[in-house]
Amino acid sequence: MTKRWLTTITFLGACLSFQAQAELVIDIVGGTEAALPIAIVPFGSEGPTAPINISEIISNDLASSGRFDPLPKRDLISEPHEKSEINFKDWRLLRSEGLLVGKVSTEDGELHKVQFQLFDVYKSQQLAGMRYQVPAGGLRRLAHKIADQVYEALTGEVGVFSTRLAFVTEVKGVDGKKRYALQVSDADGANPRTVLQSKQPILSPSWAPDGERLSYVSFENGNAEVFVQEMRSGRRNSVAAFKGINSAPSWSPDGTKLALTLSKSGNPEIYVLELASGKLSRVTHNSQAIDTEAVWMPNGKELLFTSDRGGRPQIYKVSVDGGRAQRVTFEGTYNSSADISPDGRTLTMVHGFKGKYYIAVQDLQTGTLQVLTETGRDESPSFAPNGRVILYATEQRGKALLASVSVDGEIHRRFGESGKDVREPAWSPLRK
């Protein structure tokens, strides 16, 4: 080392003329958009083993987003569980963008103490860190929550791992009759639980902005009818059971109203229902056309909806107070099932083209349309609450299942097959 330096000093002496010249500036333009490498060390454990592997859930969450690339376990140089055990120079060699360590301890196997710390290994700096106490049943949820914090610290965007998915399943019973269930799962599709079960079809679940209520369409009374159900108590109300179809509920951003499709006038039209008062106001007035699938713009003042008033189904925009609707989609012969990104900039929809149906996104400012999927049997797109991913229903070998795609179309994912037909997904809002 010393020798090297001596040589260098000699060099420098010899090269003073060069030193005097302007400092070298290297422009780096572009870079990659790869997944961030992250080192996730298995959490340390004290006392009875925790019922779930927290670090594994975190790792799977981050990997599933497509934006992280957790290092394989065999590459982990050592297994520190807190800062004092970390030799940062070693971890720099792994070229990860973050190092996550933590530990779980419990005395009675029920109450667990969990702590985690996320480090920038190059600056030996903590980026995030928390300590928690949770019951065993809360560990999975906590793991998702930690994943959210890591995600946010390293990407600057909100993580959605601790959110939930709602969807409808269909199974054929031993009696040959179909049974339908409205289910809710973790954001990774794990841990599904049934919130409603019926022998009649269930459609179009929609989350209230508080994440505490679901609205949906049920045929349990022989006709499409709209219900609102409280998640905790299971209490439910029919909020629209008029003559004709009652369907396509969508919560207003403030959670006080539902946009609905009602055909009580003899033709499907968009209405807005004020939940507290039951006051109903009609938004569209086109008796020749199907107007349905309303969804609120984040400003709470406009609705996007599907209409075939132009001959074929296309997406239109209309003020919640009514008035003239404005056509939004122009490409393709069939555009329906709109959902809007939380920032209100991007529209996702089912885009039909030559008899096939794809998930597409359209930039509302530029009008640019991008098709994100390839199977041609895709429906019901739903934005993740951070606007990064779109959840949708698709089919594979005759089986309906859920899939997701990043808004740039780069990262595709299918959710584990459950042996059931799974469809009508709706991504919950962020938990507050």
């Binding site: 009759k177 639980r193 079960q197 022998k199 459609l203 045929f219 022989g222 905790r232 199907i290 099932s337």
Partner: protein
């Protein structure tokens, strides 16, 4: 004609009985009794997001509800040789226009409904699986309504009709090809109380 009236009387009696069942179904609509079953799992609903998570968990924050156990049923007119025995009409893709081959069937039903103002019929519209479920729900209704329009041509009143759409939710044939889709794009005619 006389025997027809007797039949009609019988029909209305049976229809009345049927109404009771329907009433049961409607009772379920308010979600308080009848066929709707709400499982009380309050033991599992507390805990999520609570400061002191005394409950067992996070994952049971939602309660399971079971509804719609009562099957939807309908009756038939007992003459297999009459065109009235035909109770289904089919449609082209994304269309609610009646096809030529279904005209005879519809004429028979139109006449029958005109002659029997006490008879009630339920029209259930269906679509194939392609496209949006909500749009298909509306399209199924549009098909049923277009059939109603035809069936009212010989004096039947609007009160004789119940119109329902199941969209693509109740396919007749499972499958992902035109032969299956063709069977699923239909309106079913169901006489109530027969």
């Amino acid at each position: 004609m006389k025997s027809l009236k007797i039949t009609a009387l019988c029909l209305s009696l049976i229809w009345f009985a049927g109404c009771t069942t329907t009433g049961n179904n409607q009772a379920g609509a308010d979600g308080q009794n009848g066929e709707v079953m709400v499982e009380d799992r309050t033991g599992e609903t507390s805990g999520i997001g609570d400061e002191n998570a005394s409950g067992t968990g996070i994952d049971g924050a939602e309660t399971q509800v079971i509804v719609g156990e009562g099957d939807y049923t309908g009756d038939e007119i007992n003459d297999p040789n009459s065109p009235l025995a035909n109770r289904v009409v089919y449609f082209e893709y994304d269309s609610s226009a009646v096809r030529f081959e279904d005209q005879a069937t519809l004429e028979a039903h139109t006449a029958y409904l005109g002659d029997n103002p006490n008879v009630t019929i339920r029209l259930i519209g269906h679509t194939d699986e392609r496209g949006s479920r909500e749009y298909n729900l509306a399209l199924g209704e549009r098909r049923a309504l277009s059939i109603r329009q035809i069936l009212m041509l010989q004096g039947a009143s609007i009160q004789q009709f119940q119109v329902t759409s199941f969209g693509e939710e109740r396919p007749e044939a499972e499958g992902f090809d035109e032969s299956a889709w063709q069977q699923n794009r239909r309106v079913e005619l169901i006489y109530i109380g027969q």
